[in-house]
Each structure stands twice: as structure tokens, then as C-alpha cells.
């Protein structure tokens, strides 16, 4: 592909602005590869319906819809179910299962309701209590984000990590909450940052 052809492709991308402003024109081969490789395409089937409702409500409490989309809009609950099913190891999955069961039981005990039926302030109280109890976990250590996973992290930390990761790497999170630019075509190292501007999605290099 020479530069002219590339520019034409880039122009095509941009001219599709109205319909799919941020979607990428992937080649057939890329699509084929990604369809094969994208483990997230297979819907997970790990939670029962009650667990699914609670996990979605917890994720939404962590990253709620505001004037921009929230965790549920971004498909985070499905991401979490998939990660718990396929990505966590057995011990981590055990921590998750137990933490979720305890949360579901404790809201019934305290409020006589399941988590997703609570008022937002009550939901927040529940999670803050969990965070407070987990506060000595290494998960909270300063700078402890450049690693793959903290294997003994408590349930609340697992939920936060999976929710936040799933949210900002989703198409919705990356394009509607952060900013995403697939084809910058230039580098400007001195771009003004407005007080309300979001970070760029993805990795700078």
C-alpha cells in the first residue's frame, strides 16, 4: 500500500463518520483473525441470572452512567463474566465466587433485598464497606498497576479492576468517555488540554 492508497483508505474511514465515527475499517484477514482470536466473542455462561443481575449492578455502581455512558452501556458485565469464566485461575475464581456469594447474602441479611434492588446510596455503602475491609490488600499499593493481576486480591478489588479495565477498553468507553483516534496522521507534542478533556484511549506507543 503506498501513501496515496493509504490516504484513500483513511479518507474512507473519515467519510464514514456519521454512521460509525470511531469504527475501523479492518481488512477481511484482520476480521478473520480477530473473530478467531477474540475470546470475548463467545458469550460467557458462568453466572446464574441472579448473579448476573448483581454483577451488573456492582459494575454500574463502580462506573455509573452519568452524562456519558456507564458500565452496562459499555457491555462490562459480559466482559466480567467472560473474564471470570476463562481468564481468572481457579484460586482467583474461588475468591470471586465466594465474594459474590457473600455480597448477595449480606444485602439480603441487612436490607432484605438483592443488591440491584437497593437504593444507589445503599449500594455504595455496601461496596465502601467491602473496600474498607480490603484496604490492606497489595492491590491498593501505590503504582501497583503495571502488572498482569494481583492473584490474591479480594473480591472488591477484582470487581473494580475488571470493571475499570473492561470499561475503558470497550468501544463505548474508549470512544465516548475517553477519546479515540485510530489514524492521527501526525504528531503534535504541544496540543492544548482543556479542563474537561479526556485522555486518549489505547497506548501512546
Amino acid at each position: 500500500m503506498n501513501r496515496r492508497e493509504f490516504m484513500q483508505c483513511a479518507a474512507l474511514l473519515v467519510s464514514g463518520v456519521a454512521a460509525t465515527r470511531n469504527s475501523l475499517a479492518l481488512s477481511e484477514e484482520q476480521k478473520h483473525y480477530l473473530a478467531k482470536a477474540n475470546y470475548n466473542r463467545t458469550p460467557a455462561d458462568y453466572f446464574n441470572e441472579a448473579q448476573r443481575r448483581t454483577v451488573a449492578a456492582v459494575a454500574e455502581t463502580i462506573m455509573p452512567a452519568t452524562d456519558t455512558p456507564g458500565a452496562i452501556d459499555a457491555g462490562v458485565p459480559g466482559f466480567i463474566e467472560n473474564m471470570v469464566q476463562d481468564w481468572l485461575n481457579k484460586a482467583e475464581r474461588g475468591i470471586f465466587d465466594q465474594g459474590l456469594a457473600e455480597l448477595m447474602a449480606s444485602t439480603q441479611r441487612s436490607y432484605g433485598k438483592s443488591f440491584e434492588m437497593l437504593e444507589p446510596a445503599q449500594q455504595r455503602d455496601c461496596l465502601e464497606a467491602l473496600e474498607s475491609a480490603a484496604s490492606d490488600s497489595a492491590w491498593y499499593d501505590f503504582g501497583n498497576t503495571q502488572r498482569v493481576f494481583v492473584s490474591d486480591a479480594p473480591f472488591i478489588c477484582q470487581m473494580k479492576e475488571l470493571t475499570i479495565w473492561g470499561f475503558f477498553t470497550s468501544e463505548t468507553g474508549a470512544t465516548q468517555v475517553l477519546r479515540y483516534e485510530a489514524m492521527p496522521m501526525t504528531f503534535d507534542g504541544n496540543r492544548e488540554l482543556g479542563p474537561d478533556d479526556s485522555s486518549w484511549a489505547g497506548n501512546p506507543f
Partner: protein, 566 residues
């Protein structure tokens, strides 16, 4: 040029990475019929760059690394910084192609397994060696003297730079000679701020934009960078130098190139009567079929470890310890760079400045210690440079904070303070004890003896590490950091992915494996032009030097051939 029916090709090049691609280009352009043998599978440039431009949400687990797969099949490659799901297809599968790993003295052999080799996934930083790099061994007595100097290589640096396209800023420094540059990439706002402060408060250092084999402007029919970011996934516009974007297309254009993928070289066959290598023995990795090819010239460009493995496995009566190994130096004097040591500073400057576009490059502070003579306060020999880059913290560096809800979302959405990182790259001394070997008891799936390593860093490397941290801390202060974090643990040998040595260059055949023209002592039609030939390591990224050495050796070999000396 082929005149005798005994030859299948004029030249055979083993390997298609940075060095092999250059050998293919230079030799075919000089009219030779060339066969390139590559053990990895073939790929189609562009079409097969599956991860290119794939956003996070298209990647497996949205970019969370698949731990189980990496532990089972990529335990070595995943230990380094560079493997990810956007580029995994280029890397060696450690289960399929293992080596003898000694957990007590670990050496991480980072390998590609495709046509183009590591030129697809390299870091692209390109720096010329300086005169002091070539005289260091003779001066301080570690290793043997280089038989060549900067003046021998300078025209060849120019030759390869003009073709490859190197962007950077000319500084006129003896310690970091300028390349033939395309326009430099721009600095981040904070990098310019730091550069200004260092000029005043640390005038002994020079901070410049990284010199990089990425096109900042259209060049030789290749398009300028479009700043998408992760070069290592492949580039369909050919904007960074790789065998696929640059050298192999040029070689193909001559009509003189034959490239065989899935071709594992087992050994070279030495003809004692003729005093020459007469054939290369190859195993097809897919069918197991064995074949042999004959040529006038053989270029080993299979990577430091790969080329030496072939020499070691090419035993004969004349060379019982491996081809060209009358010195006993083969496999020894393995080097890499002091790597993994760095300082990160947090800055509250330029908070209203950000960037547009993903610059696949950083900044560089060239060596400033022991220039010319030893510094009075330096207890170590040689020196180091710093690669660096600024970026703003974001959700990925802050997702473990406390809190929930709209406030958390808002704080993670916006850029945090700037961070600037200095990553030291230090020169490693050549040591006899640091070596690779063949393990006769362990063979790979082709029946070829596996390689093993015994390498450890010594006192000089540790002293360089200490000085990197001390000087780096001072530079961060001068730069205005409000807070710094040191990373002082050195990466194990191999993790710098600058492994070099093991078939070192020297005039004396009793001490070295190749001569000043990369020609194997005792086997004059064999040339080793990749990292294996290195006699010392400098502290700058080595690939540009392999390119220049390869082009120079090709020129020499073809002239010798024309004069009937080969």
C-alpha cells in the same frame, strides 16, 4: 554470475531479519543469485499484520494478557517487555522451539519465528557507534582489540541510513556521531521543558529526540509514519524499517532473490580439500524433508545465537569444535546491555499541554560518563546512555485508587500529571565465562542439539547500574521532578534483546572467529555479519551497526569473488 553447475546459487543467506535482509539486498543488487533461508513461516506484508490498528476491544480479553497461554507456550518470550496479543504471531513458540533454560543463571532468548525475523518487532532506535566504542577494548584490556575503527564503518553507516531512512537531530557530538537524518520527530511539551532545564542545570548532558528508523517524511517510495502507535504489530505503509518494508522488496526487485521459508539450517558442510564450505544442510520444518544447497558464498545472519548455533553444529575433522573455532572463542564473550534500570519522575509542569498522535519514539541522552578518559569519580569502565519518554498518567496507571461512582469515573477519565522516565542502557564487558553451548543430550524436534547459556552480570555491570541510578536521580532533580521512583533491578541477560558476541571479530585467528571483514577464519567463503561478530557492546542500540557491517562485508565478498579470491 553462476558459472559452474556445482552451484545452486551464488550466495546463500541464512536468516531474513535485519542483517539477512541487508545481505539479500546488497548481494542481489550486485548481481548475485541469492537464496535466503528462513526457519520461520512466511507472511504477506500488510495482509498478515493482523494486529495492526486493532483497538483494545478487538483484542482477546480486551488486551489483558492471556496468562495461561503465555505460561504454557511462551514462558520465555512473555518474560520480556515486547510480546503482546497484537504481535504474538511474530514470536517464537517456546514449546515448539525450546532451549536449555538454567533457572540459576537465566538467559532469556527472545526470538521471532517468521520471515523478517525481529526486524518486525524491534525497537527501531538507531545510533552510530563512536570511535571510543571501537578503541575501548584495546584501551582498558577487556576483550581483544577491534580490527576496525569508526572510519571503516562511517561510509557504510551512511550507505544503510540513506536507504533505511532514519529520523533524528544532528548534534555534532563525537560520542554519538550523527546519521544521515530525515527531519526529527517532535518532543512532547514536558520533554522540551526538561530539555531547557537540563541545558541550564546539567550542561554536561545532551537531551535529544530519539534517532529512529521510522520515516518522518516520505522516503524511497515508502510513506511517512501515520502515528498510529504500536509499530511492533507490523506497518502496512512500511513506515518503519523492516526486512518487509525495505530490504526484501529491494532484493526481490532485482529478480535475483529466492526466499525459502520454513527452512531450518542444520549445519554447514566443510570441504577440507578446498578449504571452503561446500553446502548448507536444511530441514523443512513442515515436512521434515532434508535437502542441501550449494553456493560460492554463505552469509550467516541468523541472529547472534542462531548463527553461532549453526557454526557450533558444523563440526568436521578439520574443525572438531565447530566451524571456524580454532581459537576456542566460539560461543564465548556473550554480551547484552545493562537493562531494566531506570528512574521515573512525576512532574506538575505543562498541565495544560497534551498531545495528538502516538509518537513511536522517545528521547535520548547519549553517554556522558568516561568520555575520552576515565572520570575521576567513576569506579566503572565504559558508559551508558538513557532512553526516555514523557507521558501523562491515565486510568491505566491509576485504576487501583479508592472510591466508586461518578467521582472515580471522572478522575480516571482525565489525564493525570506528567511522568518522565529515564531507562539506562549500559555497556557490558566481554567475558569468557559468559557463553552459549550446545547440549548434546537435548535435541529439538529436528534432531538439532539445543543451545544452553551460562551468563551472569559482573561487578562492572553492577557499578554501571549504581551510577545510572545516582546520575539519573540528579538529572531528574535538575529536570524539575517533584517525586522520583527508582528501578534498580537489572534485567537478566537476554532481556535487553541486544544479545551479541559469541563469534567475535579480531585480526588474530587464535583469539577470534571472524576477521575484519566478518569472514570466518579458516572458512573464507563464510561471513557472519549479525550480532554474533561483536567484539564489544558499546551502550547504544546495535541494529544499525549490524546493517553497516553486513553491507560492508557484502561489498568485500563480492569484490573478492570478482578478483577470483573466493
Amino acid at each position: 554470475m553462476i558459472q559452474s553447475e556445482n552451484y545452486d546459487f551464488d550466495a546463500i543467506v541464512v536468516g531474513s531479519g535485519i542483517s539477512g535482509g541487508w545481505a539479500a539486498k546488497e548481494l542481489t543488487e550486485k548481481g548475485l543469485k541469492v537464496l535466503v533461508l528462513e526457519r520461520g513461516r512466511d507472511i504477506t506484508p500488510g495482509l498478515d499484520y493482523y494486529g495492526e490498528h486493532a483497538p483494545d476491544w478487538k483484542l482477546p480479553y480486551q488486551g489483558k494478557k492471556p496468562r495461561e497461554l503465555y505460561e504454557n507456550e511462551y514462558p520465555i518470550q512473555s518474560h520480556g517487555y515486547a510480546l503482546n496479543e497484537g504481535n504474538r504471531q511474530f514470536w517464537n513458540n517456546d514449546k515448539d522451539n525450546p532451549y536449555v533454560f538454567d533457572a540459576e543463571k537465566p538467559f532469556y532468548w527472545m526470538r521471532a519465528d517468521v520471515v523478517g525475523g525481529r526486524s518486525l518487532i524491534w525497537g527501531r532506535q538507531t545510533y552510530r557507534w563512536c570511535e571510543q566504542d571501537f578503541t575501548a577494548n584495546a584501551t582498558d584490556g577487556h576483550g581483544i582489540p577491534w580490527p576496525i575503527g569508526y572510519c571503516d564503518l562511517a561510509p557504510w553507516y551512511s550507505h544503510v541510513e540513506q536507504f533505511a531512512g532514519i529520523s533524528g537531530e544532528a548534534l555534532g557530538l563525537d560520542e554519538l556521531p550523527d546519521s544521515e537524518f530525515l527531519k526529527p520527530m517532535e518532543m512532547h511539551a514536558l520533554e522540551k521543558t526538561i530539555q531547557g532545564r537540563l541545558r541550564k542545570k546539567a550542561p554536561h548532558v545532551h537531551m535529544t529526540i530519539g534517532r529512529v528508523a521510522i520515516l518522518s517524511e516520505d522516503h524511497n517510495g515508502r510513506a511517512a509514519c501515520h502515528y498510529c502507535g504500536p509499530c511492533d504489530r507490523g506497518c502496512s505503509t512500511g513506515s518503519y524499517f523492516s526486512s518487509h518494508s525495505a530490504t526484501l522488496p529491494a532484493a526481490r526487485a532485482t529478480g535475483n532473490l529466492t526466499l525459502k521459508a520454513n527452512a531450518v539450517v542444520e549445519r554447514l558442510e566443510y570441504d577440507a580439500q578446498g578449504g571452503r564450505v561446500s553446502a548448507v544442510h536444511v530441514i523443512d520444518s513442515q515436512t521434515g524433508e532434508r535437502s542441501a544447497f550449494r553456493a560460492r558464498l554463505y552469509f550467516l545472519c541468523a541472529s547472534t545465537v542462531g548463527s553461532t548455533q549453526i557454526l557450533m553444529n558444523s563440526r568436521s575433522e578439520a574443525f572438531p569444535d565447530g566451524l571456524g573455532n580454532r581459537s576456542g572463542a566460539l560461543g564465548h564473550y556473550m554480551m547484552d546491555h545493562v537493562y531494566g534500570v531506570g528512574i521515573t519522575g512525576i512532574f506538575y509542569d505543562d498541565m495544560d499541554r497534551y498531545w495528538f498522535g502516538n509518537r513511536p519514539n522517545g528521547t535520548y541522552i547519549p553517554r556522558f560518563r568516561n568520555l575520552g578518559d576515565q572520570d575521576d569519580d567513576a569506579g566503572f569502565l565504559r558508559g551508558y546512555g538513557y532512553q526516555g519518554a514523557a507521558m501523562r498518567m491515565d486510568w491505566k496507571t491509576g485504576f487501583n485508587k479508592r472510591g466508586f461512582g461518578a467521582d472515580l469515573k471522572e478522575s480516571l477519565r482525565k489525564p493525570g500529571p506528567w511522568v518522565f522516565h529515564l531507562a539506562g542502557f549500559g555497556e557490558v564487558l566481554p567475558q569468557y565465562a559468559n557463553r552459549m553451548y550446545l547440549d548434546a543430550k537435548k535435541v529439538d524436534r529436528f534432531g538439532i542439539p539445543q543451545v544452553g547459556f551460562s551468563c551472569q552480570w559482573g561487578d562492572n555491570e553492577r557499578m554501571i547500574r549504581d551510577d545510572m541510578l545516582e546520575q539519573g536521580e540528579a538529572l531528574m532533580k535538575a529536570a524539575g521532578a517533584v517525586f522520583t521512583v527508582k528501578q534498580g533491578e537489572m534485567g537478566e541477560p537476554g532481556l535487553g534483546i541486544h544479545e551479541m558476541g559469541t563469534a567475535r571479530m579480531g585480526d588474530d585467528p587464535t583469539q577470534s572467529v571472524v576477521n575484519a571483514h566478518n569472514q570466518v577464519h579458516g572458512a573464507p567463503n563464510v561471513f557472519v555479519t549479525d550480532g554474533a561478530c561483536m567484539t564489544s557492546s558499546s551502550c547504544v542500540n546495535p541494529s544499525l551497526t549490524y546493517m553497516a557491517l553486513t553491507a560492508r562485508a557484502c561489498d568485500y565478498a563480492v569484490k573478492q569473488l570478482a578478483q577470483g579470491r573466493l
